[in-house]
């Protein structure tokens, strides 16, 4: 069942490529504009790179949250999901994974290329990519809760940012912090462990609370 949902969402994304590309281009544009706007001061760019890349990834992921459940809600598929004898948290996990594969993975793959503009060393690029790899699934999982809670509300987009931003901030701090720590020679291990812990915790808690929120939203 999990794979059915995953396959379906990926198929839908493949037929609607513009939605996927919007997120990716947003990320690329924001990250690329900073060096142009700030100027070619290498030291400064190197310092701000992790923060800029992480903030852009966070905003890009938030940009696509609205679509996670809303189209299923509008055409009635979500009702079917809630009435499925299969476990709803598992379905939600499938949807969150599909969301990550479609929006998160392209960002992770683009990050090392974009990092070159900031004159990051190869070690720093590696840490940046690894931190995004651990952090972006957390963004999708937490985002799912917000998307489920604001389903069918007018102005849901603003509300969802208000709801999920406080939960995103720890991920942002430790994600960007990992790169800074590694360039400062402290090693990124501690930050990475914390990101991993966030991932595991959200993997367990987020699908379940999203399922509850969906039931409340559809009542």
């Amino acid at each position: 069942m999990f794979f059915w949902i995953l396959r379906r969402d990926l198929l839908l994304a493949a037929r609607r490529r513009s939605d996927v590309l919007t997120t990716l281009f947003f990320f690329i544009i924001v990250v690329s504009l900073f060096p142009l706007g700030v100027g070619p001061e290498m030291n400064m760019l190197r310092l701000m790179a992790p923060g800029v890349v992480w903030v852009a990834a966070l905003l890009a992921s938030m940009l696509s949250l609205g679509r996670m459940f809303s189209s299923d809600y509008l055409d009635g598929t979500l009702e079917q999901m809630l009435l499925s004898p299969q476990s709803l948290p598992l379905l939600v996990l499938g949807k969150a994974l599909a969301h990550w594969l479609v929006t998160g993975v392209p960002l992770v793959l683009m990050a090392p290329v974009l990092g070159i503009q900031y004159d990051l060393t190869s070690d720093a690029l590696l840490v940046l990519t690894a931190s995004l790899l651990l952090g972006t699934p957390v963004l999708s999982l937490i985002g799912a809760i917000g998307a489920a809670l604001t389903l069918g509300l007018r102005g849901g987009g603003v509300l969802v940012s208000l709801l999920v931003l406080p939960l995103y901030i720890p991920v942002l701090i430790f994600g960007a912090g990992a790169v800074e720590a590694s360039t400062a020679g402290l090693g990124a291990g501690a930050h990475m462990s914390l990101l991993g812990a966030f991932l595991l915790a959200s993997l367990v808690l987020a699908p379940w609370s999203t399922a509850v929120s969906l039931r409340i939203s559809l009542e």
Binding site: M1, W4, R8, L11, L12, R15, R16, L74, D75, G76, T77, E79, Q80, M81, L82, L83, S84, P85, Q86, S87, L218, E219
Partner: protein, 206 residues
């Protein structure tokens, strides 16, 4: 054989009471037609019966047990077709049918899905994306689920909207066969529907 029972159901929307004191007992082979003017709470009642909403008062029992506490077991015995069909524009008719029946717990192979759509008069259109189908054809894709779901209880919200006369006959046939095999149906419709040899209960909401 299971029964569906509603005891003293009430529905409140905002501060308006849509209905209260609704009682019924549906047994195997029975059809219950919910009637009432627009806005009388037919859809709200059906959403309660399938477990999407909870009643403001009273309780709904499947086989004597509250549906809330049954959860997945109840969903496995029931198929709900709401007035939103759950048909995805970007998927083909056959993909739509296979995915919605997988959600209902039945893994459908390509062949069976093809046959079901053929039966619903969509032969040759299985591979078209749903967005190019007409309203009536989309409805037929939704209704094709009834052919393959294998559940006892069907809850149908206006299943006949947008259908032409031949499709209405087809649905009528489906309903008759389901009732003959001991199934149960709760439905709303504004159209007159002739069901041969079935005990039809009418539930009037005002």
């Amino acid at each position: 054989m299971p029964t569906l029972e509603g005891i003293d159901l009430a529905c409140i929307r905002g501060d308006r009471k849509l209905f209260s004191g609704v009682n019924f007992l549906l047994e195997s082979g029975g059809l219950m037609q919910v009637q009432g003017p627009n806005g009388s709470g037919k859809t709200s009642l059906l959403r309660m019966l399938c477990g999407l909403a909870s009643p403001a008062e009273g309780e709904i029992r499947w086989d004597g047990i509250q549906i809330r506490s049954l959860g997945g077991d109840y969903f496995g015995a029931m198929t709900y077709l709401g007035h939103l069909g759950g048909v995805k524009d970007d998927l083909t008719a056959i993909e739509n049918l296979r995915i919605s029946s997988a959600l209902g717990g039945v893994d459908l192979d390509e062949r069976k899905a093809h046959d079901a759509l053929q039966h619903m008069g969509l032969g040759g259109r299985e591979l078209l994306p749903a967005k190019v189908l007409s309203q009536g054809q989309r409805r037929r894709v939704t209704l094709a689920r009834l052919l393959v779901c294998g559940t006892v209880l069907w809850i149908l919200d206006e299943p006949l909207t947008a259908l032409d006369t031949s499709a209405v006959k087809l649905v009528q046939g489906l309903i008759e066969r389901h009732l003959e095999h001991g199934g149960m149906i709760v439905m709303t419709t504004h159209q007159e529907i002739e069901i041969a040899g079935a005990a039809i209960q009418r539930l009037q909401l005002t």
